[in-house]
């Protein structure tokens, strides 16, 4: 489904990603971990098409298409969803209105019929249950004044609405309280299917207790320096990153 080959990307001339290779098949969950500043969000942004990042080398194919060739909105319409680490606020635009525009543009691209107000609202109702999001948030301006946890929950709610094939969750667990973590994770699990895949960026094992990964990758200095099964995350939880850093830094000297 997603194939990343030797991906290099830089921002304002500074190289951040330095040769990422990753293969993701439908139905899989990949966790990406790694120390702060290692390039996890950068990778997510590059996949989503943020234009400040310049791809200097490598290729990315998504369901047979050259992903890097598509503009951000078409990537979204093709099924790439990014739950942002820091969701932005859009004053004056209600979540409902925002999502209706988004859902209908995505549906148009996918050749599906437009949803009228009634159909749209009933779809919203159904998906709201999934992440137990409060109705009141829907009529408020998008993310404006939302608590950290509410913003994260709203991201997953939007994911549910847009039915992506590849979801990238960038530290969705940060800011969620214990109950919210469970609820949001359950939501993500219910959205899982043999046809879609998930990339979970996280620092903590506790999220991976709920969303169990098939693979765990460690990103360090812009490269995937270690990959393994879900046990790797447990090792990291116990030992931290030093042993990996030493391996890498030692080897490169």
């Amino acid at each position: 489904m997603l194939s990343i080959k030797n991906l290099h990307a830089s921002i304002e001339g500074t190289p951040i990603l330095k040769g990422i290779n990753l293969e993701i098949k439908p139905g899989e969950v990949h966790a990406i971990m790694g120390p702060n500043g290692s390039g996890k969000s950068t990778l997510a942004s590059v996949l989503a098409g943020r234009e400040e990042y310049e791809v200097t080398e490598g290729e990315v194919t998504f369901n047979g298409k050259d992903l890097l060739d598509l503009n951000p909105e078409d990537r979204a319409r093709e099924g790439v969803f990014l739950a942002f680490q820091y969701p932005v606020e859009i004053p004056g635009v209600s979540t409902t209105n925002f999502l209706r525009t988004a859902v209908n543009q995505v549906r148009e691209y996918r050749g599906q019929e437009q949803l009228d107000a009634v159909k749209f609202l009933s779809l919203m109702k159904e998906k709201m249950k999934l992440v137990e999001i409060d109705q009141k948030l829907m009529s408020r301006a998008l993310n404006e004044g939302f608590s950290g946890g509410e913003k994260k929950r709203n991201e997953i709610f939007q994911m549910a609405m847009l039915e992506p094939t590849l979801s990238i969750l960038d530290e969705t667990d940060s800011g969620l309280d214990i109950d919210a973590l469970r609820i949001v994770s359950n939501g993500v699990n219910q959205l899982k299917s043999p046809d879609n895949a998930t990339i979970v960026v996280t620092h903590y094992q506790r999220l991976l207790d709920y969303i169990v990964p098939d693979f765990v990758h460690v990103l360090y200095k812009g490269r995937i320096v270690k990959s393994g099964s879900k046990e790797l995350a447990l090792d990291l939880e116990e030992k931290g990153y030093d042993w990996i850093k030493e391996d890498v830094d030692g080897a490169s000297v």
């Binding site: 951000p72 979204a76 932005v88 004056g92 635009v93 859902v103």
Partner: protein, 481 residues
Amino acid sequence: MSKDNQILEEFTSKEYEHGWSVDFEADEAPAGLNEEIIHWISAKKEEPKWLLEWRLKAFRTWQSMVEPEWANVHYPKVDFQSLIYYSAPKQKSKPKSLDEVDPELLQIYERLGISLNEQKKLQGIAVDAVLDSVSVGTTFKDTLSKLGIIFCSFSEAVKDHPELVKKYLGSVVPMTDNYYAALNSAVFSDGSFCYIPKGVRCPMELSTYFRINAANTGQFERTLIVAEDESYVSYLEGCTAPQRDENQLHAAVVEIYAAKDAEVKYSTVQNWFPGDKDGKGGIYNFVTKRGICAGDNSKISWTQVETGSAVTWKYPSCILKGDNSVGEFYSVAVTNNYQQADTGTKMIHIGKNTKSRIVSKGISAGKSQNSYRGQVQVMKRAQNARNFSQCDSLLMGDRCGAHTFPYIDIQNPSAKVEHEATTSKIGEDQIFYCNQRGIDTEDAVALIVNGYAKEVLNQLPMEFAVEAQKLLALTLEGSVG
């Protein structure tokens, strides 16, 4: 150049949608301005002598005045002698009812989406349409007259209700008020007149549609709204003009009079031709709008959505004379390409417990300049006056400008005046967020801008709010790419 700017750079204006004109035979005054022309206009309109005298007095005052230069706008001087001050579409004879109005004229308005045809009426909106200098027809006249409401062209009002016109004309905006108001007083050709008798709530929106068609013509319309005790009216005004290379002048005067317990809501969606994307052509919009809350507990509310004009100079104001009277000003002003707008309001608190509220939202794109100029004046006897002003500016790109000029003058220590101002940029991260959800950039900008202007758009009657939203999107279309 950062991506943000690059995006915004490409934000060039879309073709002006109403940029067509129609050739039809017109009855025009010779170009130029002198007493003779004023006699000519007055005679053409078969006006009473007092009005001719009034015009002449205004003209003489105007001659002694100089064009104001304090506004933050720059444009080549208008050559007042090259303008035509009166242009009327020629009709075989005066139409008595809408059915007799030249179908070609009606078609112009149909193309603008304004139906004068009562059968296909704009639901519940009575329309008076002014083409170039004269009023073409007023719909719903019968329905309204049953309630004693007078809604007609200014010329008709002069003929049928001279006592009312004489009483209120110039009572809110004196002919000597300013350069453009004096000019308008001298040469105004037509406009709308609206009178709501005591205790009547006008059951529909009253709407005027202004259209400049002829070339080299100045449009000088005059609107007078009088709301008697305990009455209510919501009045709307829309404007467009054809796309022409030369600049055209629009210098209107609007006067609103609100008696005791009366409420007047005045909304404009102004979409005059703004000039092309290189700054060629466009309307100079120099307008004086003022309302007086003459009676206690009266209220005047101005809502404006300004998307057009090459140069805008406009300050809808309220004189809060009656005790407990309320003045409101809600404005969205968008400038793109080379447009310049200097707009705002004046709130003059005279009565006790008077309140005013100012919400101004400026949006600048391209190389445009957008200035808010607001004055809050609290007079000596205005005990407990309250004002709240909120002035926000939204910038798209870094080649445009937003400026705020608040003036506050308080002569009564009990006054409470609050002023808040913000300046923000449309964030690249906001646009990216929208893109990531499958929304293209054009729609993202429309969403963000409409969200930003929401507080003002909410003040507009439903149908107009939808129109205004589309207009905002259209004005900014292509500006982010």
